[in-house]
């Protein structure tokens, strides 16, 4: 901080009006944050665009040109990863719907609901690395899922969802839904808490049924929270699955659970093809930017 003090005083001579001094101080206060973000996020975006046109192994790069892009789009791995991402989007309705039900359940304020709330949010604190480890135990051949199936009498049925290309992605999706429950429930519950209870009461007195109240009062009230939860869930889906995949499947079997973010890691660090990995990064960036614009508009509409 002392550095800032010195510069402020030096530059803020008598020729500076109070207004200008204030603006200058404001500018200086934002400088460290700006430097950090430009240096570690802004510049790398530019570099990623540049290197996506090169053949790059991390040490030396050679300019190739736009043909790297046409080549990349002919790579079947890219399409597999994009397809996996698209398929995982199918889990989003569950990642929103289940927490909505849970939040409504909690909002009934049955005896002990505060304890239940704490329990429901607890997994949110745990690393997805750890949740991935637990999920692996759940889906394993000798895991909980098979125990449950056996308990219901299907003693000869054995699943091994993570072991097969056809089912591994579903297992990942189910795990993802579980990991998102805490955060989304928290969001919805906060939304419900801001709902005026007299409104529901009035509707009830007017003879509206529970479902009617939920549809006509609760849901419209929650719409902004649902939008926010949607955006956060989709972004997590694109950029936070790495830990789960790394621990549960390593992207396999084959490429069955390789999503865009994992493909970037694999291409760069397992195959040493930094150029193509940078290119994939740009694709991921564009995908999240589309979702991000939606969120910025959500935030922006507040001002």
């Amino acid at each position: 901080m002392s550095v800032i003090t010195a510069t402020t005083k030096q530059n803020a001579g008598p020729w500076m009006t109070l207004r200008r001094r204030r603006q200058f101080a404001g500018f200086l206060f934002t400088l460290p944050a700006l430097a950090l973000v430009i240096g570690f996020i802004g510049i790398p975006i530019g570099q990623a665009i540049y290197y996506s046109f090169t053949s790059w192994n991390g040490l030396t790069s050679q300019w190739i040109g736009p043909s790297t892009w046409s080549q990349a789009f002919h790579n079947s791995n890219l399409w597999t990863a994009l397809q996996n991402n698209a398929l995982l989007l199918l889990s989003v309705p569950f990642a929103l719907g289940l927490p909505l039900c849970i939040a409504v359940l909690l909002h009934q304020r049955v005896a002990g609901w505060k304890v239940f709330r704490s329990i429901y949010f607890m997994p949110t604190a745990i690393s997805w690395v750890v949740l991935g480890l637990v999920a692996e135990r759940f889906f394993a051949y000798q895991g909980t899922l098979n125990s449950i199936i056996h308990f219901f009498g299907f003693s000869h049925t054995n699943t091994n969802m993570l072991g097969y290309e056809s089912t591994a992605l579903s297992a990942l999706g189910i795990t993802f839904v579980f990991t998102m429950i805490g955060t989304n429930t928290m969001l919805f519950l906060t939304g419900l808490a801001t709902l005026d209870p007299t409104l529901e009461e009035a509707a009830r007195i007017d003879g509206a049924g529970r479902w009617r109240i939920f549809r006509s009062i609760t849901l419209p009230h929650l719409s902004r929270f649902i939008q926010l939860a949607f955006v956060m869930t989709v972004i997590a889906l694109f950029s936070a699955l790495f830990s789960l995949i790394f621990v549960m499947t390593g992207g396999g079997p084959g490429y069955a659970t390789t999503t865009m973010e994992f493909l970037i890691y694999q291409t760069g660090f397992n195959q040493g093809d930094f150029g193509t990995a940078a290119l994939y990064g740009i694709i991921l960036f564009v995908l999240t930017a589309i979702v991000g614009i939606v969120q910025l508009r959500l935030i922006g509409s507040d001002e």
Binding site: F29, I119, V130, V134, S216, S243, F274, F285, L296
Partner: protein
């Protein structure tokens, strides 16, 4: 957020409201609700149950299915360098959060109270960096940090975490300071505190709730993260706990009970922080829409 849908008006009867359901029916309803909540609780507690039960078995007991012992806990340090890894996580976490606060708080203060030319544009640019996933810029980031020679110790990871956490934290501080009256700042300036003095003596004390929110959010985020620790801390002897666990798990040679014991150790600090500061977390998550 006050544009609520008006309640259905079509049934504007002046009659008495429909008779309330009988006491017995209401009771049954409550019990059903309670039962459902219990079911959800069982599902949410499942990870903890798996970790605890599995860690209380030796490897042979785990494979054969029966019996319990403390063996996995007693030999935990042989399997996983747990003390060193927890220490690494603690160092990286606290240093990153410190940088984020030092950088984000003055910026948030400036964006809300010391507006300058183009400050809104710069603010929007900074905040939109929030949407850039690390994976998108992973390759250049990795090469840059390596070339700067920062992957040897903790510095690379700390700076990357700080850069990733700064946009949201700045946004949060800016929103928070908008609620602080301008007069307070003016008074400080008139009293001759200077801008740095105002920041240190007036703004920081006011901002304690926002600081708590940022700290809690970033603590959980960084403590639980894998990717940055995996790539930007090259020495295996400086690995954070999540990286240690993930690498062991991906190798598939470590005994699972030991892995679960380690997982439990790694989960504990974040959970304590979480349970203790739940309300700050909720505040941070809904910042910007919850007014």
């Amino acid at each position: 957020m006050t544009t609520l849908a008006t309640p259905p008006q079509e049934s504007e009867r002046e009659e008495a409201p429909p008779a309330p359901p009988s006491q017995a029916r209401r009771h049954v309803g409550r019990w059903i609700l309670f039962g459902m909540m219990l079911c959800v609780a069982v599902i949410m507690l499942y990870p903890f149950w798996v970790m605890i039960i599995t860690s209380l078995k030796s490897e042979t007991q785990f494979l054969s299915g029966g019996g319990f012992s403390w063996l996995s806990w007693k030999t935990l340090t042989d399997n996983i360098p747990i003390f060193q890894e927890v220490l690494s996580s603690t160092i990286v976490c606290s240093a990153s959060i410190f940088v984020i606060l030092c950088v984000g708080l003055p910026a948030g203060f400036a964006f809300s109270k010391l507006r300058f030319r183009a400050s809104t544009t710069i603010f929007l640019g900074l905040v939109s960096a929030m949407m850039v996933p690390l994976q998108a810029i992973l390759m250049p980031e990795f090469v840059n940090v390596t070339k700067l020679g920062l992957t040897g110790g903790y510095f690379g990871a700390i700076l990357v975490y700080a850069a990733l956490g700064t946009p949201f934290s700045t946004f949060l501080f800016t929103t928070y300071f908008r609620g602080v009256p301008d007069e307070l700042i003016e008074a400080g300036i008139v009293d001759g505190l200077g801008y740095v003095g105002v920041l240190g003596r007036l703004v920081v004390p006011i901002a304690v709730p926002a600081i708590a929110t940022v700290t809690v959010l970033q603590f959980i985020q960084i403590w639980d993260d894998l990717l940055v620790g995996l790539l930007f801390i090259q020495n295996t002897s400086e690995r954070p706990i999540t990286v240690g666990l993930a690498v062991l798990a991906a190798g598939r040679t470590t005994s699972i009970p030991a892995l679960m014991a380690g997982s439990l150790v790694s989960a504990l600090p974040a959970m304590l922080v979480y349970l203790g500061f739940q309300r700050y977390l909720v505040k941070g998550l809904t910042m910007g829409i919850d007014r």
